[in-house]
């Protein structure tokens, strides 16, 4: 008789513990697909920038006075979201609530400043393909900010309700990962629209 392979595992986690669990993988696939979406948006920018004659850039020297501090603000919100997660990890509700709360406030300020940034533009959605791309790309990002803010608000509420513990917190980790993604993808958008003109692209 051949030997029978039989899995006899010992002590397995029941349901999602730490970052284990299919939900964590699911968040990863969602982010991969969203990242691809932004890659195609930026592909469209570089493609149209490359095939159009000089003058396509409506802002050859983009004004950084609002955009740069706003970018720093968004990155800071990621740090606070991380602090919130670490508050859950160390059973510190005060830290968790502060982290999620401040991240939410900073994210909201970012969104409001972005609206002012839009208002300050001398061109509109239909001015040219550059303008269309600018508003649609930053608009897509804004939609992701809004979703991220809803997630941060939910994490705040669920922390108030004491739903999480250092072990049972995959929802927190997934939500915070999404917020990091929203911030990281902004760096690509920001670099494309605000920095590459200074590097010479499209000028």
């Amino acid at each position: 008789m051949a030997e029978v392979a039989l899995a006899q595992p010992r002590d397995l986690p029941v349901g999602p513990l730490h970052r284990q669990g299919v939900g964590w993988w699911g968040a990863g696939t969602l982010i991969a697909s969203e990242a691809a979406l932004f890659a195609y948006l930026l592909f469209s920018y570089y493609y149209l920038g490359a095939v159009n004659p000089v003058g396509w850039l409506l802002e050859p020297a983009p004004d950084l006075s609002l955009a740069l501090p706003n970018t720093a603000l968004l990155l800071a919100s990621s740090v606070f979201a991380w602090a919130g997660e670490s508050g859950v990890l160390h059973r510190s509700r005060a830290l968790a609530l502060t982290g999620f709360g401040v991240a939410f406030v900073l994210g909201t300020i970012f969104a409001v400043i972005q609206v002012f940034e839009w208002k300050a533009k001398t061109y509109g959605l239909g001015t040219s393909s550059y303008a269309s791309l600018y508003f649609v790309t930053t608009g897509f990002h804004m939609a992701h900010v809004v979703v991220g803010l809803l997630i941060l608000a939910a994490l705040f509420l669920w922390t108030v309700l004491d739903y999480f513990s250092p072990r049972r917190r995959v929802v927190v980790s997934a939500g915070v990962l999404y917020w990091h993604f929203v911030d990281a993808v902004w760096l690509f958008v920001f670099t494309t629209y605000y920095l590459t003109p200074y590097l010479g692209f499209g000028r």
Partner: protein, 648 residues
């Protein structure tokens, strides 16, 4: 509920008492409630299959009307506009609403059974994926039925599709419908990826996966990455049409070619996404009828992945005639020629499997083996158009139409019908009628080749595609009549298939658990399988758990009737991604209204966008947001929160 964070799962043997307990845990509620809430992958899989076959029938009828119009020169059965809508809707239906969903259906039904699991990784997401597919299909067809079907081909090139040239609602239906459908494809792909990596039976390491799992996994990774390209393209088109943006119109600094790039960055990988899982069906089904394992398992698995990777870099071969720079054309031509190498690996593996096997000629075998021939014909004509100068001669002629039908019918429809003959006994507990099956096969096979083999010649004679009629040039009329006759014969064949399914469901011969003496796990459970699939989670020791005694590969053997009981709730096992070592007990969600509510919200939202009714858009958005929040609310049943006992 007092439950610890860790548990040692009990190991035991199957018993009637154990099965009764699992049945109570896993059964779907009867009636309307169960209909709308079920998350059982088998129910969802069959819904996918039935819906996709209905779309196949609709698309087929559209094709027959076109073939009547094209049977003779200068016919006036259809107006040019009707013809435009018909050929565009035919393409949209077959490619988006049949070819991909049918494979999702089979994979949904089969995966957990092939993998030794009790459900997909995300059962509710699975239900959502189906409901959105159905809703977006109805949305797209609502356009067609109100005279607003797509009318610029399934590829939908601008500027034809832009507002100045196409002021009706046609393109808005198509654009929004495709964005809607994209959600279904994306969440479905995410589900397949996580399922493949996380919910296999212990011991089913990555080198023991059935090839069909490799095929669908590869296709899903591709879909996850490329579907956003087409969703974005259609969204931009809708913005151009409704809000005056300038993505695609040259006057505002846009580019018509941007559409083609975004569309084919998606479109070409998509072609592989709708054939690789079907090739996997053949790789798993054909060997059963050759009474031996597939020749070259590892090569076939690796070439599946390699085909897809190369497939990301060939999209420009759809754009050879658009005036792109020669260097770019050379690169994409080279890549398109190189892709024949991994594609051919499977062909040789199948031929070698038949050669070295002892073939049992069944209807399923006929469909699987004839697919090899059709694949070679479709592959060679594709290889021809990979060459730039040849493509310049052939592009926009019926040669390309012949090629793509050999690919899509040859490598999708034939394997799918074969797979139905093969797995129907598992799904229904009944055999399909073999005698009717022979009629079914030969009618389809002869009809298909009569219709599409001469079409290569039609194309070589220069007849342009996408035009509603043609003049009586020498040879064109005869060839077109032949194609029309063949199309009707083929349609009769498909009809015989549907007749066989309906008849056999009622009076088919009863099938046992393993009617074909197959080697893989799905044949170790009853036909049809119970709601919980596996009473005990098996442990797998080889690629062919049911053939181990005769293959005498030595070493350890799989354990099928003794394994993890997992009966403390709706549970299955999660395993590590490569070696499939058990690493977690998964708590599976109960049946839920959330997917159908979310789909209803999305439907309201998309109808609102179509009609530019912002109140409806707002209502839809609120339903969607509420649905998602309720869905994601941390649930004690799923152990997403600390069990009370573990506090302090």
């Amino acid at each position: 509920m007092k439950a610890p964070d860790y548990r040692t799962p009990r190991v035991g043997i199957d018993s009637a008492e154990h099965q009764a307990k699992l049945y109570r845990i896993w059964e779907t509620a009867p009636g309307v409630k169960g209909f709308f809430t079920t998350v059982d992958h088998k129910v969802i899989g069959i819904r996918y299959i039935v819906t996709a076959f209905i779309f196949l029938a609709l698309g087929g009828m559209e094709a027959l009307v076109m073939r009547m119009q094209l049977a003779r020169p200068n016919m006036a059965l259809l107006t040019p506009d009707q013809y435009n809508q018909l050929f565009s809707t035919h393409g949209m239906t077959m490619i988006f609403l049949y070819a991909s969903p049918i494979l999702s259906g089979f994979s949904n039904y089969l995966w957990p059974l092939l993998l030794g699991s009790r459900d997909m990784a995300f059962p509710r997401l699975n239900a959502l994926s189906y409901w959105i597919y159905l809703a977006s299909g109805l949305f797209l067809y609502a356009g067609f039925l109100t005279g607003n079907g797509p009318n610029d081909g399934w590829f939908n090139y601008v500027p034809n599709a832009s507002r100045p040239f196409n002021p009706g609602l046609n393109e808005d239906f198509y654009a929004l419908g495709m964005v809607f459908l994209g959600i279904s494809v994306t969440v479905g792909a995410a589900n397949f990826i996580v399922t493949a990596f996380r919910t296999r039976a212990p011991g089913m390491s990555i080198n023991r996966l059935p090839i069909m799992v490799w095929g669908t996994l590869t296709a899903s990774v591709a879909n996850l990455i490329v579907v956003p390209a087409v969703s974005l393209a259609f969204f931009m088109l809708w913005m151009d049409r409704q809000f005056g943006t300038h993505f695609f119109d040259a006057a505002g600094g846009g580019q018509a070619l941007l559409w083609q790039h975004l569309f084919w960055i998606f479109g070409h990988p998509w072609v592989y996404a709708i054939v690789l899982p079907a090739m996997g069906m053949v790789s798993d089904g054909l060997p059963v009828f050759c009474r031996r394992p597939l020749v070259g398992y590892s090569l076939v698995a690796l070439s599946t992945v390699a085909t897809m990777i190369l497939g990301f870099g060939v999209w420009v071969h759809h754009m050879f005639a658009t005036g792109l720079p020669g260097l770019g054309l050379a690169f994409f031509s080279g890549a398109s020629i190189a892709i024949t190498l991994p594609s051919a690996v499977a062909v040789f593996a199948w031929i070698a499997t038949i050669w070295h096997g002892r073939p049992v000629i069944t209807t399923a075998f006929l469909f699987f083996s004839s697919m090899i021939l059709l694949f070679v014909i479709g592959g060679v004509s594709g290889f021809m158009t990979a060459s730039v100068p040849v493509d310049w001669q052939l592009t926009d002629t019926y040669f390309v139409v012949a090629h793509l039908h050999y690919v899509l019918i040859g490598i999708n429809v034939f394997p799918v019908v074969g797979a139905t003959y093969f797995w129907f006994p598992k799904m229904s507990g009944k055999f399909l009628d073999e005698k009717l099956g022979r009629w079914n096969f030969w009618t389809m096979f002869i009809g298909f080749n009569v219709a599409f083999l001469p079409m290569h010649l039609t194309g070589l004679l220069g007849m342009p595609r996408r035009v509603y009629t043609y003049n009586d040039y020498p040879g064109w009329a005869t060839l077109n009549l032949l194609t029309s006759v063949g199309a009707f014969i083929f349609a009769v064949g498909v009809l015989l298939f549907f007749v066989n399914v309906l008849k056999s469901l009622r009076v088919g011969a009863k099938a046992s658990a393993n009617p074909w003496d197959g080697p893989t796990l799905e044949w170790s459970v009853p036909s049809p399988p119970p709601a919980y699939n596996f009473a005990v989670i098996p442990t797998v020791a080889s690629r062919h758990p049911l053939w181990e005694s005769r293959l005498e590969e030595g070493g350890t053997v799989s354990s099928l009737d003794r394994g993890l009981l997992l009966d403390q709730g709706k549970e299955t096992i999660a395993t590590s991604a490569l070696d499939a070592q058990p690493d977690m007990i998964l708590e599976m969600p109960e049946d839920s209204y959330a997917p159908v509510v979310l789909t209803a919200g999305l439907s309201v939202l998309f109808v609102g966008l179509l009609l530019r009714n912002w109140i409806a858009v707002g209502v839809g958005a609120v339903i969607v947001a509420g649905g998602i929040l309720a869905w994601l609310w941390p649930s004690r049943e799923l152990r997403e929160r600390e069990p009370e006992v573990a506090h302090g």
